[in-house]
Symmetry: C2
Subunit: 108 residues, 2 copies
């Protein structure tokens, strides 16, 4: 596997976004990615869950268009697709991020 495929944002429905964010683990991942403000590997999220479970959640976040994953060596670097999501669903992700960490500036 050279590169992971991501959906184009016009293939993504609002319900997909909502669904992806309805799980506490995934919401936590999204919140941490936002507050970190940098790409993070799957392993950096220390959520006491086996790799396969984490991988599952990332898969759903990717399918919802929320996360894009860049492969670098053996690591997978994850980033939020804030700008694109914002363009398609203005305010939705940003407001969620602000609720998750009120102090942080979520503008990218």
């Amino acid at each position: 596997m050279r590169q992971i495929k991501h959906p184009s944002l016009d293939q993504v429905e609002l319900t997909d976004i909502m669904y992806a964010l309805s799980d506490p683990t995934r919401l936590e991942i999204v919140g941490r990615l936002a507050s970190a403000g940098r790409k993070m590997t799957c392993g950096e999220f220390d959520l006491n869950r086996p790799k396969s479970s984490m991988s599952h959640h990332f898969k759903i976040l990717r399918a919802a268009g929320l996360v894009e994953t860049l492969i670098e060596g053996t690591e997978h670097l994850n980033a939020l697709r804030v700008k694109e999501i914002e363009q398609k669903f203005p305010g939705v992700l940003q407001s969620v991020l602000r609720v998750l960490s009120p102090a942080a500036d979520t503008t990218v």
Copy 2:
């Protein structure tokens, strides 16, 4: 049954809101309630689904704190709890409503 019980908004988690909005039928209900700008009975949503299914979806919307239901005679009048939700999760519901019907003013 005299009155339906609703959760206090501080009992509601963000994941509950997201979950409630991750279903197309429920998102449709929420969108129509918003654009109608008035209380609507369950029967007014003509979504080609049996009463029991509709009732199920309203139950989840209520549990998420999104909808409050006022009983008047034999009818149940449903309204969005926009202000309260907005206070607890600023911007979240409003942005969703704006995505659902961009032209409408969703400020209550």
